[in-house]
């Protein structure tokens, strides 16, 4: 359907809510509840978009009614609708966490509006059908998250934010050069129009260098191995709700664009890029897991673990055979989508639990030396949720982490990539080791430590948001069929680029 208003509502509800929240700057409690309400609305709209996409095929919205490729067009096909639902669900849990958060940063009048602006940037970059609009939404997301990290309770937040703006700025630079190169070559910014022109014509040299520029920008934004060095600092020092978003959904923007550009634009160059992705993914898995093993901070363990988990997704993308004439079932692409979807819920819930623990320590950090003996004094539900989440991340049944690891393994067997498969499964054991180690260190050690908040008689209701996410993890693990079927349909749909191009309806309608 053309001009589907729900896509527009999903993207722009948070930013309107942020304007309302800025008017309520003096009333912090009201801000928090307005934020939660707007995120529930956004979540509802994204679910409606997904249902319409399942029933009627890809949906579009043309801003200002201009015919594509002129003007800006939003498009929701299966891939973007699925990623959009993932983003809005995790965002909703983030707002839920903010309502009960005891952090000082959440009390500042601009924190919750910035959080909502980040949600707009995130949803917009999933739904846009235009390379330059993607750049604008990406920058919206990056700048709002940087401002929130700079005002974090952790006193090193400012340093990490400065470091990240420089590095992310370089990524943006590469993205802009890539966009300009594509525009010089093809005279269009619309992804579908570019795909048509690329499929027709001779590939000029500038298009290839544009592919390299764009890919390096996407890899930098999702903290893949050679570009990862900013990520642990930035994700550790961020306020808890923000680090939960950064480490779960924001790294997926790069993954989404890699899948989108590989299947739509650079189909000829894809095999070379994919070989590189498999190598980078395997290095990332080992680097992330080993670095997580030797870290002495709970949040940092999770930040390094994200590098490893993104590596799994990249390996799955790298295995996918994108040539349409090969006729292989799109197993690997399905695995990548399932993995990206499940990982978002697990990682955000784990980071929120670490934030709860940090809130109880005097130092406001989860450095292992600061929290000796803290864990056993916390309400037992917090430790239980962490255990469930950790087991899910390590890939034990019946949790959703098992489903995603199983999907990757099935794809590996299907393609006979034995060496890579062995490496991937072997490194899964490393995940189990570092999750167990952190659980023992945080929740099982004895020591003399005073609780920071519980002593004053304050109850922490903060476990509601991670409990919500862990419930989703268990549901997706026990009853995985709908997600797997959806991911399979998505993989089939995105492998046929003509569906996307027809939905945009170039020069028509």
């Amino acid at each position: 359907m053309e001009n589907n208003i729900y896509i527009l509502l999903t993207v722009f509800t948070p930013i309107f809510a942020s304007v309302i929240m800025l008017l309520l700057a003096r009333a912090n409690r009201a801000q928090r509840w307005v934020g939660l309400g707007s995120s529930i609305l956004t979540w509802g709209f994204s679910i409606v978009v997904l249902l319409m996409v399942i029933n009627e095929g890809p949906q579009t919205y043309r801003l200002g009614g201009y015919t594509p490729p002129y003007g800006i067009v939003f498009i929701a096909d299966m891939l973007s609708a699925l990623f959009g639902v993932m983003a809005t669900t995790v965002m909703m849990a983030g707002f839920m966490y903010n309502v009960h958060s005891k952090e000082k940063a959440v009390g500042y009048p601009t924190f919750i509006p910035l959080f909502a602006v980040m949600a707009t940037g995130l949803n917009g970059s999933f739904y846009t059908g235009d390379l330059f609009t993607f750049f604008v939404f990406l920058e919206l997301m990056v700048l709002s998250s940087v401002a929130m990290v700079a005002m974090s309770d952790n006193r090193y937040g400012l340093e990490a934010a400065i470091k990240y703006v420089f590095i992310s700025g370089m990524g943006t630079l590469f993205l802009l050069i890539g966009i300009a190169a594509m525009y010089t070559t093809f005279g269009t910014l619309n992804l579908a129009h570019m795909a048509v022109l690329l499929a027709e014509g001779e590939r000029e040299l500038l298009a290839r260098s544009a592919a390299v520029m764009l890919m390096s920008a996407f890899l930098l934004k999702s903290a893949v191995f050679p570009f990862h060095f900013w990520q642990p600092d930035f994700h550790t020092t961020a306020p808890t709700a923000v680090s939960a978003m950064l480490s779960s959904v924001i790294v997926k923007v790069g993954i989404y664009m890699i899948i989108r550009t590989l299947t739509l634009l650079f189909t000829v160059e894809a095999p070379q890029i994919q070989n590189l992705l498999v190598i980078l993914g395997i290095i990332g898995i080992f680097f992330g897991s080993l670095a997580a093993l030797r870290t002495y901070n709970g949040k940092r363990v999770l930040a390094y673990s994200t590098i490893g988990q993104v590596g799994f997704i990249l390996v799955a993308i790298g295995w996918a055979n994108l040539q349409p004439e090969a006729g292989v079932a799109p197993l690997a692409l399905t695995a990548a989508i399932i993995y990206a979807f499940n990982h978002a819920f697990i990682k955000s819930s784990l980071l929120m639990i670490m934030g709860l623990v940090a809130g109880q320590s005097h130092e406001h950090s989860v450095d292992f030396v600061d929290i000796d003996g803290l864990g056993p004094k916390l309400p037992p539900i917090i430790g239980m949720l962490w255990f469930l989440g950790g087991m899910s991340l390590a890939g034990l049944p019946p949790l959703n982490g098992f489903i995603s690891k199983f999907a990757v393994a099935r794809a590996g067997v299907g393609f006979g990539e034995w060496l890579a498969l062995g490496l991937v499964i072997g490194s899964g054991a490393l995940t189990l080791t570092y999750m167990f180690r952190t659980w023992q260190r945080v929740f099982q050690t004895k020591g003399e430590v005073k609780l920071h908040l519980l002593e004053k008689g304050e109850k922490g209701d903060g476990w509601l948001a991670p409990a919500f996410l862990i419930t989703i993890c268990i549901l997706l693990g026990v009853y995985a069929r709908p997600l797997v079927v959806l991911a399979e349909q998505t993989a089939i749909q995105i492998l046929d680029a003509s569906i996307y191009i027809e939905a945009i309806n170039l020069f028509g309608g």
Partner: protein, 114 residues
């Protein structure tokens, strides 16, 4: 001719920008950041603004002459706004850091490894 001038200018801007960005003084590297973004904006301008014969949306378009591409100017306007925003945010953060650490030397701001 204009192409050559643009290529040389772009090369110079990128070279100066990268050099400044790698300085130890954070203020200087923020300025390098700004220079690099100016270079990218110039690249965007060079990608289509000089193709035609006359400027777009002016009175003399109906002489059968080809107009130049108006879209690149819109793109540059957006890119300028975005890079200006991150430039301002970065300067504000360096300002706070200089007050907190008493220095803008990037070696002094290295507590993250602890």
């Amino acid at each position: 001719m204009i192409d050559v001038i643009y290529a040389v200018a772009l090369g110079l801007l990128f070279a100066i920008g990268v050099f400044q960005l790698l300085r130890r003084d954070l203020i200087k590297s923020v300025i390098g950041f700004g220079i690099l973004f100016t270079g990218v904006n110039l690249f965007l301008l060079a990608s289509g603004a000089f193709r035609g014969d006359v400027a777009p949306y002016t009175t003399n378009v109906d002489q059968g002459l080809q107009t130049s591409d108006p879209l690149v100017q819109a793109l540059i306007l957006t890119a300028v706004v975005v890079s200006f925003g991150s430039y301002a945010l970065l300067l504000a953060m360096v300002n706070i850091a200089s007050r907190r650490y008493g220095s803008v030397d990037s070696d002094e701001l290295s507590n993250l490894t602890k």
